[in-house]
């Protein structure tokens, strides 16, 4: 079964289940796509190159017109920050952050830049009940803040803990996350601000499928310099941004237990029972009703308690 067919099927079943009177609009069924676009762009992130200068954070802040940070972008004390024992993560005020790790037995610390990975089949997108998210043909996962209700289901769903929420907005709290610089750059074919700003070219921008080759080449051509894994090639159905590293990924804070299948696959079984319940239940229970009340009065207020004590 092709992915598109499956998507339509899932959409149809949930929509059908949503309400018997809802005729889902064509729009709803056509929006987004669950297959990675063949010519979608991506970014290869080579952790071996990153020196933790935080220039990319500054670039994102400028490009996305984000609020003033708590500390300057050349303040490296942020690497020592722990929040509830956790290193920093992207928020509504910073779409990307760089963290420092100390892999076992390595001389140099390892730095890892985190931002939205622009998944091929984004969990955030599939979990959103107002369809605020879109995976664009260019490969970006963007969202429409105008329809965001603020349910934060996408934050629950995102396996990489990416989306932030403007908790401090009174009138219009919405989701905020990295958008691959879609509006200002990607749309015109230009690389994102963070990619361009990096002095070490940690990030290489290009078509995802070309980058995958480059990543494999780098691993092949530099024996011993990389662990033989491309994080994001398969994880949760593949991500637009993916990583190669010289240290095992779990030592750089990556979740290596993520399923290889897209997150939506988990939910598929449940969505599949929806049409079943919808079609079978009414007949079943009306049948029960007819059987159970056969030959009895329909009236309300009859108290048959005495003779019906135990069944």
């Amino acid at each position: 079964m092709s992915k598109i067919t499956r998507r339509k099927f899932l959409a149809g079943s949930a929509a059908g289940g949503a309400a018997m009177m809802l005729a889902p609009s064509k729009n709803a069924l056509a929006a987004g796509s669950f297959e990675g676009f063949p010519d979608g762009m991506g970014v290869l992130v080579d952790l071996t190159r990153c020196v933790g200068c935080r220039t990319c954070e500054a670039a994102c802040n400028t490009e996305q017109k984000l609020p003033e940070p708590a500390k300057p972008f050349d303040d490296y004390s942020v690497f020592d920050e722990l929040h509830h024992g956790q290193k920093r993560r992207p928020t509504d005020k910073a779409y990307t952050v760089v963290n420092r790790y100390e892999p076992e037995g390595a001389d140099e610390p390892l730095y890892r830049k985190i931002q939205c990975n622009h998944c091929n089949e984004p969990a955030c997108l599939t979990s959103c009940f107002v369809n605020a998210y879109t995976k664009t043909p260019e490969g970006a996962v963007i969202y429409n803040a105008k329809v965001c209700v603020g349910c934060r289901n996408c934050m629950i769903a995102c396996p990489f803990h990416i989306p932030g929420y403007t908790y401090n907005s009174v009138l219009n709290p919405v989701i905020k996350k990295c958008i691959f610089c879609y509006d200002t750059r990607l749309k015109e074919g230009k690389p994102p601000a963070c990619v361009e700003s990096c002095p070490q070219q940690v990030m290489t921008f290009g078509k995802r499928k070309d980058l995958m080759k480059i990543a494999n080449d780098r691993i092949k051509k530099n024996p011993g310099q990389y662990v033989n894994h491309i994080y994001g090639e398969k994880e949760v159905g593949g991500t637009g941004w993916f990583y190669i590293s010289n240290a095992p990924f779990e030592q750089a804070g990556f979740d290596i237990d993520l399923p290889k299948k897209p997150i939506i696959d988990n939910v598929k079984d449940f969505l599949a029972i929806v049409p079943m319940v919808l079609t079978i239940w009414p007949a079943l229970f009306t049948g029960f009703h007819l059987l159970a009340t056969k030959g009895k009065s329909h009236g309300h207020g009859d108290d048959h308690s005495a003779e019906q004590e135990d069944h």
Binding site: T62, A70, P72, D74, Y76, T184, K190, Q200, Q201, G206
Partner: protein
């Protein structure tokens, strides 16, 4: 804000190198000092003490793929840029263009682009080369160890006079 971004793009994207790494082997003439200012925008130009690095390293090949008059030493480059042909340029920018992954190239790859898609851009060529070695030999690796921030840079990093109010910070690497 938009302007800063624009300037940044031009500054970082166009990347024209004015000073060459004019390097020869020990037999050749080479400059004692090189000012690398083509990328200067957020940071001041770097005044590179070439003579000192010549003394500190064993061979030109520690930094350069080749010198004028010798073939390329990079096995991947040498596959096409035939090992037999002597090179007449040594400047980084002659091979490392500012923007190998241009939008045009992505959508309409030029002939031969395929072989160059993983070639670092000029800025990265410098930094990977310098920082990579400095890490090994314990040379300076902090950004401002080599080049001071300009005012545009302070603004960009929100440091110095542009630092956030709240941050009583200390920076340093």
């Amino acid at each position: 804000m938009v302007n800063v971004g624009k300037r940044l793009i031009t500054g970082l994207g166009v990347l024209v190198l004015t000073s060459l790494f004019t390097v020869g082997c020990f037999a050749m003439d080479y400059p004692d000092e090189v000012e690398i200012d083509s990328l200067a925008n957020l940071y001041e130009a770097v005044v590179f003490d070439h003579a000192m690095h010549v003394d500190a390293t064993d061979s030109c090949a520690d930094c350069h793929h080749h010198t004028t008059g010798t073939p390329s030493s990079s096995e991947y480059c040498a596959k096409c840029h035939d090992g037999a042909v002597e090179m007449d340029v040594v400047s980084c920018q002659d091979c490392h263009s500012g923007d190998p992954v241009s939008a045009e190239n992505l959508h309409n790859p030029q002939p031969g682009y395929f072989y160059h898609n993983d070639k670092p851009n000029l800025k990265a060529a410098y930094h990977l080369n310098c920082v990579g070695c400095h890490q090994e030999v314990d040379g300076p690796t902090g950004c401002e160890d080599c080049h001071a921030k300009t005012e545009a840079g302070e603004k960009y990093y929100r440091s110095g006079e542009f630092a956030p109010e709240a941050a009583a910070h200390s920076s340093g690497h």
